[in-house]
Amino acid sequence: MYEIVWEPIIWIISFVIITITVYIIRAIGRVDYRGGEEEKPFLSGMEAPKEKMHISASNVYWGFIDALKGYYNSMKKIHSGVINDYVSWFMLITAIIFISLFLYGVIK
């Protein structure tokens, strides 16, 4: 019998070990460090205002979407939002399944 076993216990043990390691590394850092100039966010040399510090959702993965522009443009064309298109896709798929069932029967 083909068995797939997933042992959560091993994963938990490794999780605990990693946590302890991280804690040890953190503990050997400097205690007196309180932050300074280099931690502040800047925008064109000026200190950024608080509301601009947050990158909004549209800008996350901008590069990913820009790189796949061709794919996303064709996808946008398909997702037109017109109900007629939705129904015609449905009919099209039904027809494809139907034809493939017949053709498969003929070939076999």
Binding site: H79, G81, V82, I83, N84, V87, S88, M91
Partner: protein, 122 residues
């Protein structure tokens, strides 16, 4: 040939309904298209239940020349009719709900053109 006419009507009704749903942009006409498809399917069910020279399955109302031995051949099974009634009732509910949605859409968007009723997309 004469027995095929109902089936041809079924095909024609379903094709007209499909045409309306796929190519007509007016939401009202889409609703009409769905109703026409439904009439086609209902007609198909009713046609399947037809039996030549059959009698209604009511034992208290049998014609006098029928003997109990004839009953299995002569009497019509009422299942397709029951199915059709159920499907008509469901169809009325669906149609009412679709029309209510169309009224809401018209109030909100000011149009019934399917090409403009697409604020939800992508």
């Amino acid at each position: 040939m004469i027995y095929n006419i109902p089936f041809l009507t079924v095909v024609a009704l379903i094709a007209i309904g499909m045409y309306a749903v796929v190519f007509r942009r007016n939401l009202m006409k889409i609703a009409i298209g769905i109703t026409i498809i439904e009439s086609g399917v209902n007609l198909f069910l009713i046609t399947l239940g037809y039996r030549e020279g059959g009698i209604a399955p009511i034992f208290t109302n049998l014609p006098p020349d029928i003997t109990p031995a004839d009953i299995p051949e002569k009497m019509v099974m009422p299942v397709p009719q029951a199915l059709t009634l159920t499907s008509i009732v469901i169809g009325v509910a669906v149609l009412a709900l679709i029309l209510a949605f169309i009224i809401k859409i018209y109030k909100e968007y000011g149009t019934l053109d399917a090409k403009e009723v697409r604020r939800l997309r992508e």
